[in-house]
Symmetry: C2
Subunit: 133 residues, 2 copies
């Protein structure tokens, strides 16, 4: 993260991220992921291994896709493995750029051990504009 800290916007990821993020184990079922997404009312669920390291992300969209394809598998079969991430001390506009250029709506926030410490979404960034009003 350190390489990209220069920015003209003062806010950092840590200032706007949600830190009460729920994760799911890669061996959990598709149905369990759907349940957590429903209960927690969010779209993005970071996936971890037994050492609690980030190994993927599964979203409501991935579940909808599995429905469309009639595949009802394990989380590890439907998750995206190459996760675009951020870290707490990254500038918010760098995160906005990562969201845009990778065409995703959320970035898990990880520490140096690849443990998930939060999540930042385009909803969070959109709020900055709403609150400036």
């Amino acid at each position: 993260c350190n390489a990209m800290k220069q920015s003209n916007v003062d806010l950092l990821v840590v200032d706007i991220m949600s830190s009460d993020v729920t994760t799911i184990h890669e061996d959990a079922g598709f149905h369990d992921a759907a349940k957590i997404i429903m209960e927690k009312q969010f779209n993005h669920l970071p996936v971890v291994d037994s050492g609690n390291h980030l190994v993927g992300i599964v979203t409501a969209w991935d579940i909808s896709k599995a429905v469309a394809k009639d595949e009802h598998d394990l989380v590890k079969d439907i998750m995206t493995r190459k996760v675009v991430t951020t870290c707490p001390d990254e500038a918010v506009d760098i995160s906005a750029f990562k969201l845009d250029s990778n065409n995703v709506s959320a970035l898990p926030v990880i520490d140096s051990n690849k443990h998930v410490v939060g999540i930042v979404t385009s909803d969070d960034i959109s709020k900055l504009l709403a609150r400036r009003h």
Copy 2:
């Protein structure tokens, strides 16, 4: 829309919305909605009646919820009926405020006949910050 046009941000919804929006009929099946969401690579699908008027919205999240509850119904059974909308000449920061205060990620853009002419998402608004960089 006209009541809320005052703003200190110049951009209007029409400047940032996607206008190639796909809609689905309320009598379509849950599985058809999942297929469109997969093929078009988006999360939000405005739902219309036979007169092409907006009557709801169905998202990947609603499909995931139906999976969690083991309900595989028609679009009209799983859609959200009370849709928060915007119109082309609304200021972008008003839309950002509506997204935030209603805890949603997208607003269908409608004309005076309740026909869907576009969609604006928090991804679109987050991009504004990315591109300012």
